[in-house]
Structures are given as C-alpha cells and as structure tokens.
C-alpha cells in the first residue's frame, strides 16, 4: 500500500506562467513604490547633507546664528597671494584689503549670498499666518454653509464642482488674480485717491478708493489664502459631515437654533479635523512661489517689515506722535512687501551666477525652509491631538 506522501500533490502549482506573471506583477509594483520612497529619501538626504553644515556648527551655540538672524546681503570674498580667502560683508571688505596691503590679489562679490536669511523667514511666517487665518475663516464659513445650511440640489453640486476646479488652477494664475484683485483694485481708505483708482467713493472725512493694497503681506496673504481655500473647504466639509447626525437632531429637538447646534454640538467635534486640513494648507502656502511673485515678495530687501523708514520726530514730539509712529511700524507687518523663502531660493538658484558661495546659501535656505514647514506642521498635529482628547465621541 502506498503511503500518503506518494500521492500526487492535488494542490500543485500551475507552471504555465500564471505564477510567473503574478511574481512579475508583484515585483513591478514593489519596484515602483520603492522608487518613490528612494527618490524622496535621496532628496531629503541631499538637502540635509548639504544644508545642515550651513545651519549647524560644531561648537557652541551649535547653530549658525548669523545665518538665522541677519538679513541677506552681498558677500565679498577677498583672496590674498597665498590663496587664502576671507569672506566678509560690505563693510568689512575695505578693512581687510587695507590690512592685506601688497598681499591683496583679487576680490569677488556674490549677490544675496552673505549675511543670513532672517528676512525671508519672517516674510514667509507672516504670509503663512495671514493666509491661513483668512483661508480658515473663509473656508470654514463656506464649509459650514455647504454642509449645514445649503439645500441639496443642482446649485450645491455646481458650487462643489467650482471649488474642486479651483484646486486645479495653476498657481501662477492665482498670482495674476492676486495682482489684479488685491495689488491693484482692493479698497483702501485714503485722503487723496491715486490716479489709477478704479472707483473712489468720497465718505466726507476720507475716501474709499479701490486702488489696491500694493505689493505687501496682505495682498500676498490673501492670494495664498485663495490657493489653499479649496483644500480647506473640502476637508472641513468632510470633517463636519463626520460628526454624528444624532448630535444635530438632539440639539434641534431641544430647541436649539441651527447656529446654536453648529456652535455647541457640531463645530467642537469637527475642529480637530479642520486643524489637520490646515496643516496641508500651511505647507502649501509656505511653499508657493508664483502667487507671491507679483503680490508680496521682493528679491531683495534690507529691512524687516516693521523697520519702516519714517521721518525722524522732533525732539519735543508728543507721546501720541511716538505712538503713532510705533503703530505705523507695527502695521508694516501687513503693509510692507517682504522677502519669502521660496522666492529667495528661486532668486539664489536662478537669478545670480552660480558658484560655491551661492550654492551654500541655497542649501542653507532650503534646509531652513523644510525645518520651518515641518515645525509648523508639528504644532498643528500637536493641537489636533490635544483637541481630540478633549472632544471624542
């Protein structure tokens, strides 16, 4: 009698190629995924390897404080006859040349690559704050209306379609929209309307003139807000829909108005999700170059937004005059144009002759940029976790 193992295997694999195709498909898909991961890792590693040495130092305080706290400036590189190189800013160049005397051989100047990148960091932070505030306000309002108030039907579908399409608009188009809408035609209160004012409405004590906000943080922030609006609306709406219908019904059955229902038993539970969606918004707003090119960003600026030049006050100026100047300087964070990290990187990489010094500034900026976005995202995630704990159902 045959033992069991001598039987032909009833479950033997099919050797006609089905198995081979299966294996091939699995490996092709796996290779594709690995390629994506590898590429991302390579980019990150490259930036870290090249950028970290610019930002970090081996001795105390371990970070390159100059790079993080100074404004961009021209870099002077002076070479002596022994081939030693001295790097300095605009002011130090003459002193070094005098000291070298006969030994001086040559001098090179590299635009924007000296100093630090405080200007772009501050500018990007301001743009992100303005744009995310505006976009969250408009986006959440819109999402609440669409999800809680609007009647289902063709019109609502049309609005949804429009919002989705907005997400597909190229960012440079948003830039031009911002130029036209905010830089050139947004309303401001002025005493004397400019010639290019589209419409001036005299109000007696002042004039409401549609002459635009000029290139400034506000214009750029609003433009960026429209870039990230579709993301925020869509995500917020999903978060609102995820709140159980029972909460709404109960609240209504207790006699709450619709707004009370939203305020006390829908919004608190949707907030963590809405904040998560704003993370995506932050990263996008910080990274866009085209929308701010025409509306807020400058290639170079030697002042922070709140260091506006104002006529010096007379010695006997009243406290009020001083306050007024301080206020004006403070408002500069909205009304001044700024440098921004993505645009600064673009300038360094595409607008000046390339050499080792400009490359160093590029990698440093890119590294700081990534760290900044990661930090902002971390804060949002932390806020979300914190709120989740408070409002769970």
């Amino acid at each position: 009698m045959k033992s069991k193992t001598d039987h032909a295997n009833p479950f033997a694999g099919d050797s006609t190629g089905i198995q081979k195709r299966e294996t091939a498909a699995r490996w092709a898909l796996r290779a594709g995924s690995y390629l994506v991961v590898l590429t991302t890792a390579a980019i990150m590693l490259h930036i870290f390897v090249k950028g970290a040495p610019v930002v970090f130092r081996s001795e105390w305080p371990f970070v390159n404080t100059q790079f993080l706290t100074e404004l961009p400036s021209q870099l002077h590189v002076i070479e002596d006859k022994q081939g030693r190189r001295y790097e300095t800013g605009v002011n130090g160049a003459d002193a070094i040349k005098k000291e070298l005397g006969e030994n001086y051989r040559s001098e090179k100047t590299i635009a924007y690559s000296g100093g630090g990148i405080l200007g772009p960091i501050v500018g990007t932070a301001l743009l992100v704050i303005v744009s995310v505030s505006v976009a969250l306000f408009l986006g959440v309002a819109c999402a609440i209306y669409l999800s809680e108030y609007a009647k289902h039907g063709k019109f609502l579908e049309l609005i949804r379609l429009a919002i989705l399409n907005l997400a597909g608009v190229p960012s440079v188009v948003f830039g031009l929209f911002g130029l036209g809408a905010f830089v050139l035609t947004a309303p401001v209160f002025v005493d004397v309307p400019a010639d290019r004012s589209v419409l001036a409405i005299p109000l007696g004590f002042t004039t409401l003139s549609f002459e635009g906000w000029d290139t400034c943080v506000l214009s750029g922030g609003f433009t960026l807000a429209f870039v990230i609006l579709p993301v925020i609306i869509t995500a917020s709406e999903q978060c609102l829909q995820a709140v159980p219908q029972g909460f709404r019904e109960t609240s209504m059955a207790l006699g709450a108005t619709r707004w009370q229902t939203i305020r006390y038993s829908v919004l608190p539970f949707a907030t963590p999700g809405i904040l998560t969606s704003s993370i995506l918004g932050i990263a996008r707003a910080a990274g866009e170059t085209a929308p701010i090119m025409f509306t807020a960003a400058l290639a170079f600026k030697d002042k922070l937004p709140w260091q506006k030049d104002l006529p010096p006050l007379p010695a006997d100026a009243s406290v009020f005059a001083q306050w007024e100047q301080s206020l004006q300087r403070f408002l500069g964070i909205f009304t001044e144009s700024v440098q921004a990290l993505p645009y600064h990187i673009y300038t360094l990489a595409a607008k000046i002759p390339q050499n080792e010094y400009s490359e160093r500034a590029q990698y440093g900026s890119v590294f700081v940029f990534l760290v900044l976005v990661a930090a902002l995202a971390t804060v949002s995630i932390w806020m979300r976790i914190h709120l989740r704990k408070k409002y769970r159902w």
Partner: protein
C-alpha cells in the same frame, strides 16, 4: 391630517387626540408611519427636504404648530424628544443635561444646578451619578446614557415628551428601569411613545394607537385594544399574524 415625503404620502387621515398627562403608545408594523407621526409633533420632519403636512393640522396645547407665528425653538423646548439611539453629546454629564437650558439663555449657575439635579432625579440617575457630574457622558452604560437623554429632554420642563423606541437598543434590565420611569414621568408630562414591543405598550401605556400603512386603524385605552380589539387588522397584528 395627511403628511407627505415629496410625492409619497406617509400618513393619511390621521386623527388623534392625545390625552393630557397620560402615556400614549403608537404601535404598528415597521414603516407604518409611527415615527413620522411622532416627529410631526415637534416638527422634526422639517429637516427632511420635501416633507410637509399636506392636509389638516397638528395642534399642541390648542395651537396649530404650523402657524407662521410659532417659534420652532419654543415649540421644541416645550415638546421634548428622546431618540431611538441614545446619543449623549461627548461632553460631561452636567453639560449634557444643562444643554437645553443653556441654549435658551440660562446662565445662572444656581438655576442650572437645580434643574440638572431635578432632571437627574426624575430620570432616576441622581443617586448613581451625583458624585461624577463632570465625567464624560460617553463613559456611562447604554441604559444610563438613554436615561441621561431623557434627563436632558426633561430638563427644559417640556409639556409633552416624545419617545421614539427609547428601549430598542437596550438590555432588559435597562428597559425595565426606563419603563418604570415612564409611569412616573406621566405625572408631569404628556408622554407619547413609539414602540414595536407590544408587551412594552401594555406595560407602560394608558392609551394605544395602532397604525398600519400610514393610517390609524384603532385608538383607545390600552386595555381595550389588547384584550378586545374592535378591528380585525388590529387583532391579526396583535396575534402576530403579520408584523
């Protein structure tokens, strides 16, 4: 009264006089319109697009509730509702019970405290929960959650309390507790309960209405309906010939 969802008529020729301070049960097979009828009484159907009363009127305390001068929030404050699924807000026990009062503008802590205690006592929860009013309502058991929902609904002192199958998701012991509660509630509120459990209707209600396909087949004292139904259809349903 007739009631339609869009083009389809859900309720037809409904005529019902709900007795004051009694428990009235609405029974009938699934889809017969019991819940729809219940939701007509505090106009919760307003939320459903296309749903409307097409003929006749609903009167609560002698007032047609579809009159233009009826404030929906006031109506719902005075006609409370408890849902099939217990759905406490993800807030503290105290905040859940105080919700109704707060949205009607009550800010006085002493008044809120008193109302919360009264509502919790009424729903037989006070002794179990008085030491942890700040705890999350979601930590409670299913039966406690449903009683909390009742407490929440009666905290605003409504005149009418609507209950939509309040025990269908609960275990027998919790059900028993809520049934005990109902007879007490009837002393102060007019209670209307939808149930698909006929034994429950017998146990808790004073009057019963039997609905079938959007019509009221029979309405009368619970005893009469269950022991001596006038209609053949009612008898068949009660004997379990169809459900």
């Amino acid at each position: 009264m007739d009631f339609c969802y869009g083009a389809s008529r859900a309720l037809e020729d409904i005529s019902l006089d709900v007795p004051y301070h009694r428990v009235t049960a609405l029974i009938g097979p699934s889809g017969c319109g019991k819940s729809t009828l219940l939701r007509c009484i505090n106009r919760m159907n307003d939320r459903v697009p296309g749903a409307r009363v097409t003929r006749g009127q609903v009167r609560v305390k002698g007032k047609n509730i579809h009159d233009a001068d009826v404030d929906l929030t006031q109506l719902r404050k005075q006609v409370g509702m408890v849902f099939q699924k217990s759905n406490p807000f993800a807030k503290s026990i105290y905040d859940n019970v105080a919700y109704g009062l707060r949205i009607h503008g009550e800010k006085n802590k002493a008044v809120l405290d008193e109302a919360v205690e009264r509502a919790l006592r009424h729903s037989a929860l006070w002794d179990e929960l008085k030491d942890r009013l700040g705890a999350s309502a979601l930590a409670l058991s299913g039966g406690q959650q449903q009683r909390l929902c009742i407490a929440r609904a009666i905290a605003t002192l409504p005149d009418v309390l609507l209950m939509d199958e309040p025990c269908s998701a609960l275990d027998p012991i919790s059900t028993l507790k809520i049934e005990e509660l109902m007879s007490q509630l009837a002393r102060e509120f007019t209670v209307i309960i939808v149930t698909h459990n006929m034994q429950q209707a017998v146990r808790v209600s004073d009057f019963t209405a039997f609905l079938h396909l959007g019509k009221i087949i029979e309405f009368g004292p619970t005893e009469d309906i269950f022991t001596n139904p006038r209609e053949k259809l009612t008898e068949d349903y009660l004997r379990g010939i169809f459900s």
